[in-house]
């Protein structure tokens, strides 16, 4: 991807550079050359440590695992076969790899639930912030930004302390007499869901707020003037107007949830794995780097599909807005 872009830039520079030297086109050519020189260092850094490695990972997914981790330089489709399928070692029958499929399913389910959960809490919150007077609005917004920039590990740790058996919630439940045994919340799917919703909440609120800030309240007033109920105004006017924010927030929450590693590792306690943990396992105890690489590429592919849907929908709603 990156490589072709760089050649693309060079080519565009050639196209831009003046064939018939007029002052205008020379200046334009100089500007383009300056821009390309200025962006090159950033592109090199990102190519070395972000884009480039992805291609090597894709390549690794077609190799044979080494005995002690790493790979052997023999091409194989085995890793890709094993992403979803499983061959019995005795009678060679091919079956679905139940363990992998259930982890994929759990990841998808928990990510979608996290998105829903953050939306249900985040939508009213973003609306609340957007309707504050200008001066206090920034303070509320700042209160959302702070958790966004604080350590994810620390916030997960905080949730762990709250829901553990001797944690605040169970202590309160027991002292109020609701239960005499602590309720097991830690190391369950629910714990992962709660943790992810907690850590990714700002990612839902911030884009929602960004589109609600530009909400034209005259339209809402018009709706009420035409005897619409509050629910109808919300559903038929506000929601369609802030749709880009809803989509952006959902994508921003869904992507990191699907690839979550720290939160399920701490709150899921090693048995409730998600995709991120399954990938890690292949590079650790599993010693199957090609399978880990193939799983990572699969995860990346799901993320790309989500991003493409996002871009498409954003463009479409942009177009209808323009019309």
């Amino acid at each position: 991807m990156t490589g072709s872009n760089i050649t693309h830039n060079e080519r565009s520079q050639e196209v831009m550079s003046p064939n018939e030297p007029s002052v205008e086109s020379t200046a334009r050519g100089l500007e383009v050359r300056r821009n390309i020189l200025l962006t090159t260092p950033a592109l090199i850094v990102l190519f070395l440590a972000a884009s480039g490695p992805l291609f090597i990972m894709l390549f690794y997914s077609f190799l044979t695992p080494g005995n002690y981790g790493g790979v052997e330089w023999k091409s194989s489709l085995d890793a890709w076969f094993r992403v979803f399928l499983h061959r019995d070692i005795f009678d060679e029958t091919v079956m679905f790899a139940d363990a992998h499929i259930s982890i994929f399913w759990r990841s998808l389910k928990l990510s979608l639930l996290t998105t829903l959960f953050t939306f249900v809490l985040g939508f009213p919150t973003a609306y609340f912030i957007a309707t504050r007077p200008e001066r206090t609005r920034n303070v509320w917004l700042f209160l959302v930004t702070i958790p966004f920039w604080t350590n994810l590990l620390i916030r997960t740790f905080a949730i762990m302390e709250v829901i553990r058996n001797q944690g605040v919630i169970n202590t309160v439940l027991i002292s109020l007499g609701f239960t005499d045994q602590p309720v097991q919340m830690l190391y369950t799917d629910f714990a992962i869901l709660l943790g992810m919703a907690y850590v990714y909440m700002p990612l839902m609120i911030l884009p929602l707020y960004a589109s609600m800030e530009r909400l034209d309240f005259k339209l809402i007033e018009a709706g009420y003037d035409l005897y619409a109920t509050r629910l109808r105004v919300l559903w038929r006017i506000i929601v369609p107007l802030v749709k880009p924010g809803i989509i952006a927030g959902s994508v921003l929450v869904f992507i990191p949830s699907l690839g979550a590693y720290v939160t399920p590792r701490i709150l899921g306690g090693g048995k409730n794995l998600m995709l991120g943990n399954l990938i890690e396992l292949q590079f650790g105890q599993g010693r199957n780097w090609p399978l880990g690489a193939a799983l990572s590429v699969t995860l990346l592919a799901i993320v790309m599909i989500a991003l493409i849907i996002y871009v498409r929908t954003a463009q479409r709603s942009g177009n209808t807005r323009a019309n």
């Binding site: 200025l38 850094v45 070395l48 440590a49 905080a158």
Partner: protein
């Protein structure tokens, strides 16, 4: 165009004798309550975490009086000290490198007529924000394993390069935002007065851009300091940073020492983000 846009509340005249609340167009019943719950949920779990870092006892659930012993314990713990120094070295180097290349990239992508490949450049710069961290981490593990066997170098450079890359978009965005708010008038004026391009940059552009650069650098620093996933996969043996050290400790019996370290990291983030907030509120000129 829309003059009334900032009129906050529109009252519909109501019967003064009725006890109904005035009909406020912007208000949706229940939303404020949910918002308050949401803010409470965001902050309340952090309270016990901070509180128990001052616990005199060894438990993170049983309060035995106020003490700073766990801060002292963390301070005297060699592993914590080494990890803290390593974290700061990586975060400073990575944020300086990331901010430098991000500033250049921002200058090369704003205040210019759109050129071919510009969108692709945006996509590449923002890539670390779109690709799940675990995928990048695994890809880097593979690449650096190859480099490690080829060169036999096991130093901090791998972590610094990796951190620099994912810090670039965080440094880039505030710098670009600042640049987009600056027009070219002052630069043109300086050029009219025969200032050299370097002098224009040094005496006009850079001072105006400085708040954006500082904001970007601080965000990059925070992001690098807090990173767990990529560091966990890229680090060689004995290269723990504070977050990976904490991740390792969470598997064992947790003492308030972890709370103390968390509180300090939390404090650093809050202070820096507040500074960024204040810096970005400052308008151009």
């Amino acid at each position: 165009m829309c003059v009334r846009h900032n009129v906050p509340v529109i009252h519909v005249p109501t019967n003064p004798l009725s006890s109904h609340k005035p009909f406020v167009i912007r208000r949706i019943p229940g939303f404020a309550t949910v918002a308050v719950i949401c803010f409470a949920v965001l902050y309340i779990p952090l309270a016990p975490l901070v509180a128990y870092s001052f616990n005199a006892g060894t438990s993170i659930t049983l309060w035995e009086g106020f003490s700073l012993r766990w801060y002292e314990a963390a301070w005297r713990n060699d592993l914590v000290q080494e990890a803290a120094i390593r974290s700061v070295v990586i975060a400073v180097t990575a944020s300086v490198c990331a901010t430098t290349v991000a500033t250049m990239a921002a200058l090369g992508t704003t205040r210019t007529r759109p050129y071919r490949g510009q969108l692709a450049i945006y996509a590449i710069i923002n890539q670390p924000l779109m690709v799940p961290e675990i995928v990048t981490a695994v890809a880097l593990l593979i690449v650096f394993a190859i480099v490690k066997t080829a060169t036999d170098y096991h130093g901090l450079a791998y972590l610094i390069v990796a951190h620099t890359a994912f810090c670039v978009p965080f440094a880039y965005l505030p710098i670009r935002a600042r640049l987009e708010g600056m027009d070219l008038t002052l630069e043109t004026a300086a050029a009219d007065l025969y200032a050299t391009p370097w002098k224009i940059f040094h005496r006009v552009t850079l001072p105006l851009l400085l708040p954006g650069i500082l904001a970007g650098a601080m965000l990059a620093f925070v992001i690098s300091l807090d990173d767990v996933v990529i560091t966990e996969f890229v680090k060689s043996v004995g290269q723990d940073t504070l977050p990976t050290y904490m991740l390792g400790q969470l598997r064992r019996v947790v003492t308030p020492e972890i709370n103390a370290i968390s509180t300090v990291l939390l404090g650093i983030s809050v202070v820096l983000v507040t500074l960024v907030f204040l810096l970005s509120r400052e308008k151009v000129q």
